[in-house]
């Protein structure tokens, strides 16, 4: 198959799987049937079974994911609509995000260190708690493996979107701005895709959290990771 038909087929398959997953989720509403998780697993199984492989699939796939850029920009619309609400809580948000960023760097890094992960892996885990392009940049800077970091970011995002709402219900997080901020900082863009389902406030604060969290982590990760490596005597 030539490039263009293969790409067209990949796009058609992705959209078809997405639509079916959406329908199913609308009917059953079980968090494990999260449409994104379902679509990803279905496509991986299809690609493995047919032997097409990721590289050929991605010729079409990247034409879809290209629109992530404009979609993140589009979050400026709900952000503008919620500006007043957000500005009123601006200082609290900065404090929460700073704490979240430190906790994100420390928790991931320490867990990996305690489990005896090799150095390169620890350095790939450290920037896990921010959106993919930032995380990969930070991983490169630290000396980790950027694609591995991307895998971690995406799986954390899916986990956050799937398990996050239940976790926050258990923790009694009811404020809509706190819900959105927590979703965006723990599950980035994928969490934000889930947050916009919840409502405009959640979507806007979640989108904002991606940016704030990314900025804080890009600045804080290098010194914190260096200190932790010294503490655990990893060379």
């Amino acid at each position: 198959m030539g490039d263009a038909p293969a790409a067209a087929l990949a796009i058609a398959a992705t959209v078809a799987v997405y639509l079916v997953a959406q329908r199913l989720y609308a009917r059953v509403r079980h968090p494990l049937l999260n449409p994104l998780l379902l679509a990803i697993t279905t496509l991986i199984v299809l690609l493995e079974a047919s032997g097409v492989g990721y590289e050929r699939y991605d010729r079409g796939g990247r034409l879809i994911s290209y629109w992530l850029g404009p979609a993140v920009v589009a979050l400026g619309v709900p952000l503008h609509a919620q500006l007043r609400e957000i500005a009123r809580r601006g200082r609290a948000m900065l404090v929460s995000i700073l704490a979240g960023s430190v906790v994100g760097i420390v928790s991931g890094t320490v867990t990996a260190l305690l489990l005896g992960a090799p150095r390169a892996l620890v350095l790939s885990v450290a920037p896990r708690s921010v959106t993919t392009p930032i995380a990969m940049g930070v991983a490169r800077e630290l000396g980790g493996i950027p694609p591995l970091t991307a895998v971690l970011v995406i799986s954390s995002g899916v986990l956050g979107a799937v398990a996050g709402p239940a976790l926050m219900r258990l923790a009694r997080i009811r404020s809509r701005t706190a819900w959105g901020l927590a979703m965006g900082s723990a599950a980035h863009g994928i969490g934000t895709a889930r947050a916009v389902e919840e409502g405009e406030v959640e979507g806007a604060t979640s989108g904002l959290a991606i940016g704030l969290m990314g900025l804080a982590t890009a600045i804080l990760a290098p010194p914190i990771v260096a200190a932790l490596l010294k503490l655990f005597a990893v060379r």
């Binding site: 992705t14 609290a92 906790v103 991931g108 890094t109 990996a112 926050m168 927590a182 994928i190």
Partner: protein
């Protein structure tokens, strides 16, 4: 979905605006060496432009709403990309899974609970 001409033009115009802000964000991030993706800068700049009434909401709304509603679709290809690293994941699955889960849960609870508590007090 209705296909009248005006709606299509409004939609296309919205896409052009979003792309313009995306590329402006990319350029700004590169120029200032900011550790942020251009899209996040573009988001903030778009909100600012709407606030300053440089851009009217109705110019971007149809396109923005469609992209936001189907944002999950756009994450499918990068999600499928996980399969390219199955070998590495199989070798090091325990620290990877543990660090991922611990990090996600810790960040979500700290940010959510702290934010909620401060909002109640403030």
């Amino acid at each position: 979905m209705t296909f009248d001409r005006r709606a299509i033009i409004a939609f296309a115009g919205g896409i052009v605006i979003l792309l313009a802000f995306l590329y402006a964000g990319n350029a700004l991030a590169a120029l200032l060496h900011l550790p942020l993706p251009g899209s996040v800068l573009g988001m903030v700049m778009l909100a600012a432009a709407l606030h300053l009434r440089i851009i009217r909401p109705e110019w971007v709304k149809p396109a923005a709403e469609l992209l936001i509603r189907h944002m999950s679709l756009l994450y499918i290809p990068p999600g499928v990309g996980v399969m390219a690293y199955f070998g590495l994941i199989r070798r090091e699955w325990l620290p990877l899974v543990a660090a991922g889960v611990a990090g996600m849960v810790a960040v979500m609870l700290v940010v959510g609970l702290l934010q909620q508590r401060m909002e109640r007090r403030g």
